[in-house]
């Protein structure tokens, strides 16, 4: 509603205020298309928002959930990514546009045959041309894929694993192999022996890839391993909480142990 009101107001101003008596019809403005990847994603989000508004105004019948972006709309965005790919050989966008296609084609509940084909085309180039690219590390840890193509995505990753000579990418595979153990551990599902085994595997990861960077984070594997082992051994239920000594939001120093004698709910939060 809000945006409609704003639109009405700006049109009214643009037409010279009340003097303009023409009926206010939303005209299809010929818009300059922003032909960067950021531009594509901006337009994608705009379409998403517009569709949400449409659905709020006239909700679909009960039990029917419509996708926020249709397959045809997504194909339009994918086509724009291909255009970027075609003109960016040797540029960072060459990789990024392909990755964006994988992501767009993986929108849950939308992917049909057209998007699946685009996913395959992009994956074929990505997973053969960039096996030694640092950016592949994140992609093998989290590979966007339509539900039906998860198996193909795994096969693509296995192909990279066999071929890559890049240390960051190799490290990513070792890291990925520990993910299910790590998530069981954070849910408290590992017994002492299993935790011990996980600590051993983590130490090995640190030995092999210490200086490399962990995907999606700012830390090195050496730091990651240190922190994770600390968490396993010191942050488990029943252990005395490690102390925290830092500044509050006004820059005044305090410590977690200041609250000894009280029950503390320690809340990791943020607005972002």
């Amino acid at each position: 509603m809000k945006s409609i009101r704003v639109w009405g107001w700006s049109v009214w101003l643009a037409l010279g205020g009340a003097a303009a008596a023409q009926p206010q019809q939303p005209s299809a403005q010929p818009q300059q298309e922003d032909d960067s990847l950021a531009g594509v994603m901006k337009d994608y989000r705009a379409v998403q928002r517009a569709n949400i508004e449409k659905q709020e105004k006239s909700p679909p019948p009960a039990g029917v959930s419509l996708p926020l972006v249709t397959e045809d709309e997504l194909v339009g965005f994918v086509d724009r990514c291909w255009k970027i790919y075609d003109r960016s050989e040797g540029e960072p966008e060459e990789f990024d546009s392909l990755r964006q296609i994988l992501t767009l084609a993986s929108s849950s509940g939308v992917a049909g045959p057209k998007l699946e084909q685009h996913w395959r085309d992009a994956a074929e180039k990505l997973f053969s041309d960039f096996v030694d690219d640092d950016r592949m590390a994140e992609l093998v840890v989290r590979t966007p894929a339509p539900t039906k193509l998860v198996r193909e995505a795994n096969a693509c990753c296995e192909g990279v694993k066999a071929k890559t000579t890049n240390l960051n990418v190799k490290a990513a595979f070792a890291y990925k192999a520990l993910q299910s153990d790590l998530s069981s551990n954070s849910q408290g599902a590992l017994n002492d022996a299993q935790q011990q085994a996980l600590v051993g595997k983590l130490e090995e990861l640190g030995r092999q890839f210490g200086p490399q960077k962990v995907p999606f984070g700012a830390v090195t594997y050496a730091e990651f391993v240190k922190n994770t082992i600390f968490a396993i051994e010191r942050l488990k239920v029943g252990a005395v909480a490690p102390d925290i000594a830092a500044n509050d939001l006004d820059g005044v120093a305090f410590k977690l142990s200041d609250y000894r004698g009280k029950v503390v709910m320690l809340d990791f939060w943020g607005y972002w």
Partner: protein
């Protein structure tokens, strides 16, 4: 999350309880006004300019937001939640811990003077 946190702080204001935050916004200046708006009165450590990759959340291996730890009066970790477990669970667990803390703090029965 904030409304329940506010009501917790209010409800347990006379109990041996403290809500301590670790705030992971990279930009403090930007969020200061919001603290007032949301009536966030409890104290928070600041995780530093690296935001969610800051030193405290890294040391505590925080992988999801919010992450909550319930710590008893002896400083021992009693519960850990990645994502809120829901208001009811939190209320129940905290009440248990608070009553244990009260018991520990109660003066020991003394004999005759």
């Amino acid at each position: 999350m904030f409304p329940h946190e506010r009501s917790l702080v209010e409800r347990l204001k006379d109990a041996p309880f403290a809500l301590v935050g670790v705030n992971s916004d990279a930009d403090l200046v930007e969020q200061k006004p919001k603290l007032k708006e949301e009536r966030i009165t409890w104290r928070s450590f600041w995780n530093g300019p690296e935001g969610t990759s800051g030193p405290i959340s890294s040391a505590w291996n925080v992988s999801g937001w919010p992450t909550l730890y319930l710590i008893d009066h002896e400083g021992k970790i009693r519960q850990k939640y990645v994502g809120s477990p829901g208001d009811e669970v939190l209320d129940r667990e905290l009440d248990l811990l608070v009553s244990a803390a009260k018991q520990a703090a109660a003066p020991k029965p003394v004999g005759t003077e």
